[in-house]
């Protein structure tokens, strides 16, 4: 079977799953287009994330397990871009916070500069320590007082500095930029490390990013979450109250509730598809060009690529930033879809390792494969739950109700999710290590 045949077949299968989900109430399928579209929307976002990871892993062989951090930064971008600014906060302490951050950055920049200027020796060590400690206390003094002032303002509702009040769609590229900025700093420092070490370093850095989002309330409201983020699509309730919309829906034979919920979801689906297709096309163009060839050469053999004149360090940084930016973009899309930022919800199993499963199952190195992996694994992630319940029913069939085995199995059904993901990953790695749509 040729590659394109395979692709058509698999995507056809995927489409069939969504169509059955939407149209047929049977077995684990719910027969609701709303469900189908909800799964589809997040599948589209997941596919974008998988594309970002594929850029890093499939193209350049970088093992980045900090995806969660970039996704979270994308989420933060939505808050700082689209929320209206909280003017009281700015006048109370917002500028002091910024000043504090600038002071902190200056301290680090100063230390680096000094270390570059001075020769190695005791003086340099002492000066480093002095600048760092002095800078730290100065930064804390300015920054903390600003933070306290901001967080004191109506903490149950705001207590943060808000955002720029721009349209929420602007937040998506901003999410990419934020992630790219973070990736630049991380890449500059950690990309020299090899495989396992890079993985663990990025895993740790992602945890730090999320810890910051969880605790810096002036920025993200921390554990108190930001609700009610603006949307790029209309609200269902408004649609239901619009006479025109209701009439239109009726002409399709739909009741207002179904019509409005479908309308909104299709709106998101179109936006996400546009993003996915754009990123996919750009990735494919880059892939099938001298740039992609160079990246593959670097992945295949770094030493040889260096000897052949390629600046591997810079290229690694480039692709690390690019892939992270895509993840940040997707993170912003996800937060927009959710309509809220919940910093406490970023968890590596879900936002790092699951994305990895998508890339590997789909076929690392192959963009279409990553998209397919994103679709399939997300579909499974949602559908394993009814599948598990069904399985529990099958297994306990005939057992009296309340029998301890039956209870145990039913309770465990929810945990099928992780279990299944593990099995899928192991099976693919073992029997089809190049994934469903292998790199050609």
């Amino acid at each position: 079977m040729t590659q394109s045949m395979r692709a058509i077949l698999f995507f056809g299968f995927m489409a069939a799953l969504f169509i059955i989900e939407g149209s047929t109430n049977f077995w684990i399928f719910s027969g609701s287009w709303n469900t189908s579209l909800v799964i589809l929307n997040m599948a589209l976002v997941s596919a974008v994330m998988a594309l970002g990871v594929n850029l890093q892993w499939g193209y350049a062989g970088l093992f980045n397990t900090g995806i969660m951090g970039f996704v979270a930064l994308g989420g933060l971008a939505v808050v700082v871009t689209s929320l209206p600014p909280v003017t009281e906060s700015w006048s109370a302490g917002g500028y002091r916070i910024i000043l504090g951050l600038v002071l902190g950055a200056l301290t680090i920049a100063g230390t680096i500069l000094m270390r570059m200027k001075l020769p190695q020796g005791r003086l340099r060590g002492v000066l480093t320590l002095a600048i760092l400690i002095g800078g730290f206390f100065l930064y804390r003094a300015v920054f903390d007082s600003g933070v306290q002032a901001v967080e004191a303002i109506d903490p149950s509702v705001t207590g943060n500095i808000g955002g720029l009040g721009l349209p929420v769609l602007v937040a998506w590229p901003v999410g990419g930029l934020l992630a790219a900025g973070a990736a630049w700093i991380i890449g500059k420092t950690a990309l020299g490390l090899r495989s396992d070490y890079l993985a663990i370093a990025t895993l740790g850095i992602a945890e730090i990013i999320v810890a910051i989002l969880k605790n810096e309330e002036w920025l993200s409201r921390g554990a108190k979450n930001v609700n009610g983020l603006p949307r790029p699509v209309p609200y269902e309730v408004d649609l239901q109250q619009s006479a025109e919309f209701v009439a239109n829906a009726a002409s399709f034979g739909l009741d207002p509730v179904t019509a409005s919920t479908l309308y909104v979801k299709i709106g998101y689906a179109l936006l996400f598809t546009a993003v996915l297709v754009t990123i996919l096309v750009l990735s494919q163009l880059a892939r099938h060009s001298p740039w992609g060839r160079m990246m593959r050469a670097i992945r295949d053999n770094e030493t040889a690529a260096r000897a052949m004149g390629k600046n591997v360090t810079r290229r690694h940084l480039e692709i690390f930033i690019l892939g992270s930016a895509v993840c940040g973009f997707a993170g912003a899309m996800m937060t927009t879809l959710d309509g809220q930022l919940t910093p406490a919800s970023y968890h590596p199993l879900r936002f790092t390792f699951l994305i990895w499963v998508m890339v590997i199952v789909g076929g690392s190195g192959n963009n279409l494969g990553s998209v397919l992996g994103g679709f399939l694994i997300w579909w499974l992630w949602v559908k394993v739950e009814p599948l598990g319940q069904w399985l529990a029913q099958v297994l306990t069939y005939g057992l009296p109700e309340g029998h301890w085995i039956a209870v145990r199995i039913t309770e465990a059904a929810a945990h099928m999710r992780l279990f299944t993901m593990g099995l899928v990953l192991l099976f693919v790695l073992r029997f089809n290590p190049r994934g469903m749509l292998p790199e050609n």
Partner: protein
């Protein structure tokens, strides 16, 4: 193979359209994820109320209630939204849940409000959720943190406690409560020596205890849950001799406290929502096959009961109709209803009477679904938890 086919057929039947004498309720909780250790008891509490109603045969002329469990994952808003959509597709008449404020907000905004579905959360306490446009569809039986913070501050001041160390669980509940308490207490001239967060599921709390005890204070205020780190912190503080006296907000109050710590916490105080309510004990003794004292298990029972009583009062399972009745069945006036008396309540409602669900937590709803009401102040004496007063 035959068995398998039969089971498939059975599932297909269950998943089919609701039959006329059955009402489906969604039970959407984080069966996996960070609070997976709490959710089995919460689900069991809610399902106990449903079973009670089904058994009574009094709901809308003998309807039975079928719970449909879905996993909210607590952290994955997208998966939770998809699960909630599946519930809608299965034709539920109301949603019990969700648990964590994050996924609750996502389901509320993206599924419940658009579909006009009533949602009663037993545990989401985020103040942020109050500002979400909910069309009168969202209720919660967990009390709001704002008032409790004030009550707690007053209590401490009256007892002449001038400085406390404060630790809170790093969630919207803990953070919200800590914020409101600190503001109120400092407003009354008290000193909070340190306000330190503790995270769920991080096992080791030595750093927190060290920070708290070296900051010092006459009492340690633990705004958390017994089984989610709060208990560990109390244990470690007692062990290290750091604090002898504590103050416990509602998340900590339960028989687990005296059972675990015995006389070690003698002299400590705490408060939890509730009038002079024996309902909690009744609920705990009625709980079968699960731990009725589990965090939010009692709130869960009340939440599910609220939905069902409101249906009966409205005479309809249509969420847009019965949402108007949730407050009235929760609040006075009316015949007080204890756990185990749901059948009786349904009868009264069917006869056109009014009920006031006391339930396991003395549930009381104010302005748009926020739980509120009076607080029971407890103290610990000789290893027992005793009620000191109500306020």
């Amino acid at each position: 193979m035959k068995k398998l086919l039969l089971a498939t057929a059975a599932t297909a039947l269950v998943a089919g359209a609701a039959s006329a004498d059955e009402v489906k309720l969604g039970v959407i909780l984080g069966f996996t994820g960070p609070i997976e250790s709490l959710t089995p008891d919460m689900a069991a509490g809610a399902e106990m109320a449903m079973a009670e109603v089904s058994a009574s045969g009094n709901l809308l002329g003998g309807m039975t209630v079928t719970p449909i469990r879905k996993d909210s994952t607590c952290v994955d808003a997208a998966a939770a939204t998809a699960a909630a959509e599946e519930l809608i597709a299965e034709g539920v008449a109301g949603i019990f849940g969700a648990d964590c404020s994050g996924v609750t907000g996502a389901i509320l905004q993206n599924v419940a409000v658009p579909n006009g579905m009533v949602m009663v959360s037993p545990s989401a306490t985020s103040p942020g959720l109050s500002t979400v446009e909910d069309n009168g569809l969202f209720f919660r039986t967990a009390p709001s943190d704002a008032r409790q913070g004030v009550v707690m501050a007053e209590l401490l001041k009256e007892q002449g406690v001038g400085s406390v160390a404060l630790t809170y669980i790093n969630s919207d509940y803990g953070k919200g409560l800590a914020d409101s308490f600190q503001a109120a207490y400092e407003g009354m001239g008290g000193t909070v020596t340190i306000s330190a967060a503790h995270d769920v599921g991080k096992g080791d709390y030595s750093a927190e205890v060290a920070a708290l005890s070296s900051a010092g204070g006459e009492r340690l205020v633990v705004a958390g849950y017994v089984d989610q780190g709060g208990g560990d912190i109390v244990r470690a503080s007692i062990d290290a001799g750091a604090f002898d006296l504590f103050h416990f907000p509602d998340g900590m109050i339960g028989d687990a406290l005296p059972a675990t710590f015995g006389a070690d916490i003698d002299g400590s105080y705490g408060q939890a929502p509730g009038s002079d309510n024996p309902g909690y004990q009744t609920f705990v003794s009625l709980a079968e096959g699960f731990n009725g004292e589990g965090t939010y298990a009692s709130e869960s029972y009340d939440a599910a009961a609220l939905i069902l009583l409101a249906m009966q009062a409205a005479g309809s399972t249509d969420p847009n109709v019965y949402k108007e009745y949730v407050e009235s069945v929760a609040n006075a006036p009316g015949e007080p209803i204890m756990p185990g008396e749901l059948g009786k309540a349904l009868e009264i409602l069917a006869a056109g009477g009014d009920v006031d669900l006391i339930g396991a937590t003395g549930v009381e709803l104010v302005n748009g679904g926020e739980a509120a009401g009076s607080y029971r102040v407890v103290t610990f004496e000789g290893g027992e938890m005793v009620t000191a007063e109500y306020r």
